[in-house]
Symmetry: C2
Subunit: 344 residues, 2 copies
Amino acid sequence: MTATPLPRVTIKDVAARAGVSKGAVSLAFNQKPGLSEATRDRIFRAARELGWAPSSTARTLAGSRVDVVGLAVCRPARLLGLEPFYMEFISGVESVLVERSCSLLLRLVRSPDEEVGLMESWWRGRQIGGSILVDFRADDPRPAVAERLGLPVVAVGHPSLTGGLTSVWTDDATAVTEAVRYLAALGHRRIARVGGAAALGHTSIRTTAFDEAVGALEPAARAWQVATDFSGDAGARATRSLLTAAPPERPTAIVYDNDIMAVAGLSVAAEMGLRVPDDVSLLAWDDSQLCRLTHPTLSAMSHDIHGFGAEVARTLFGVITGEGPGSHPVPTPVLTPRGSTAPP
Amino acid sequence: MTATPLPRVTIKDVAARAGVSKGAVSLAFNQKPGLSEATRDRIFRAARELGWAPSSTARTLAGSRVDVVGLAVCRPARLLGLEPFYMEFISGVESVLVERSCSLLLRLVRSPDEEVGLMESWWRGRQIGGSILVDFRADDPRPAVAERLGLPVVAVGHPSLTGGLTSVWTDDATAVTEAVRYLAALGHRRIARVGGAAALGHTSIRTTAFDEAVGALEPAARAWQVATDFSGDAGARATRSLLTAAPPERPTAIVYDNDIMAVAGLSVAAEMGLRVPDDVSLLAWDDSQLCRLTHPTLSAMSHDIHGFGAEVARTLFGVITGEGPGSHPVPTPVLTPRGSTAPP
DNA sequence: AATCGCGACTTTACCGGTTCAATAAGTGGC
DNA sequence: GCCACTTATTGAACCGGTAAAGTCGCGATT
């Protein structure tokens, strides 16, 4: 019952069957000039008959292309499973990779250091042709490492965080401001935000923008902010503590940094006997399908995560083919009002 | 993709610095006998000083192990993003791969045919040393292909679906039965199930088991089943149509095939003015964090998806190292009662 | 007629490792 | 002091491709 591997068919077999040399086969399969149509056809026919496709491993070693891109994600596994963002992002990336017959090498790491080590070994070992970098932190070591290695990368994050690397980003500051303005326009003056992991750069961008946006409202306006780990539990805890205060000290609207926490917030409000949106308005972020599955439905800052991933992949191909560094903003998340927001 | 020319350090450099031959370095790095401790040390020191690690590409080509395992997932990208199952499963797989310094090659495919093609080209091109197969269907072509290629794989699914391949599976039939018995014990006699994609093998296993379980109750008991695509929207639609009938024709309990649809069901019930669990009980499946974030919280059939993924990876390593085919059941999902189920 | 240019291949030298037969050095027996 | 026997180390042959430098035949140029 031991699986006896098939005799592997190699370029040599194809060459023999087509009556040409290895080199000719290589030429044919890389659409390079120097072969007659007739020979080309014979080669392709032989390859088809033998079921041969070039070994990407051998190709890589021979120094041509590397058709794999890396993605290391540094977040606790348990949280990732729940965060709709990543799978959707990945599916967007894939949608572009597939067109180029590339694959995604995925690895969950536990620390930024581990990620740096992985970048090095992937690149040194020629396992990847480029990499996608996410979740930038203050003083992130990765830009320097990528630079030193000459590894083509695209950074997902605001240029202020990504140390000169080519970056793809959404304008979170503007989005936060829009969220606050929207709530203010509804009449809210006591607004809270349940943010993500404090260590992440985009969290601090949102935090700052939120403070500024609320500060720009009339003096009576008041802001609260809480940092979490993005988990639903943390979102529930934060919401509970924000809503336990008596009405004047209690926010009338809460903005969340992802959908999961907003869902959790909804449930906490219900459990506390507060009506959404009458007693408190909730605003989610990302706008996955989840926002339309709750009752009331969740208003959200929505953006096209799939498209975002696709843009990242396209940009990475640009970098790999030698394009200089650049900054690629994608559309700012827009407010999608639903059932969870209303005047206080 | 073209590779950026960089002063790559290779085994030759290490050999030169340690004053030995390439072969010796290889011996040292593969813990093979035949080298003196002193030489071994010198080699490791040289490697460390040069920051060298063996190229897995070259190793692969030279015929030793391949340290990448493949996973192709054939579901619409948009659904995947929302399905907590996959990311959690993947993180479980990764947890084992990391210990062996292996990586996961991930690809989203659009059809079973595309997946078969991918298996072939990954294996032929020596990109993977083994593969994980998920989402089995009736008459799935993959067992035959894996057999023919000699590709080491582990199938995620009941042995009746996976055509003799080594499989890792949960006993869904028993779990469904337990769910039905639980609801029956609460007093429910009109029970519905909102199932997953009809084409998937595990869906039909659950469907059959559900019919049998309800049939085994007193004759007055009645069952409904609806197939969906696992999406929240589909879950909402299914729930709506189940609950619009007048009370005698309406189920008093609904079992869902995943968490997302149960969340959607919860919201539909609320929107229809039905109280959960007083008017209708809902039971989710998988039990991701989501189930504890709703109000009421969702009772669910819960299992350890992370551990499941880990077991799959371990089993795959077994297959790769030549273990014969086997069947590896993991613990049956257990009922976790929460706030969404009660007597009718 | 000798030379040139060019298309259509073939040859050959890698890429960065692994593997194994061959060799050199060291040990012990007698 | 010679031989058999280990043990440490090397050299060369791959692995399956790519790429650059030949080779060869042939019509066009001078």
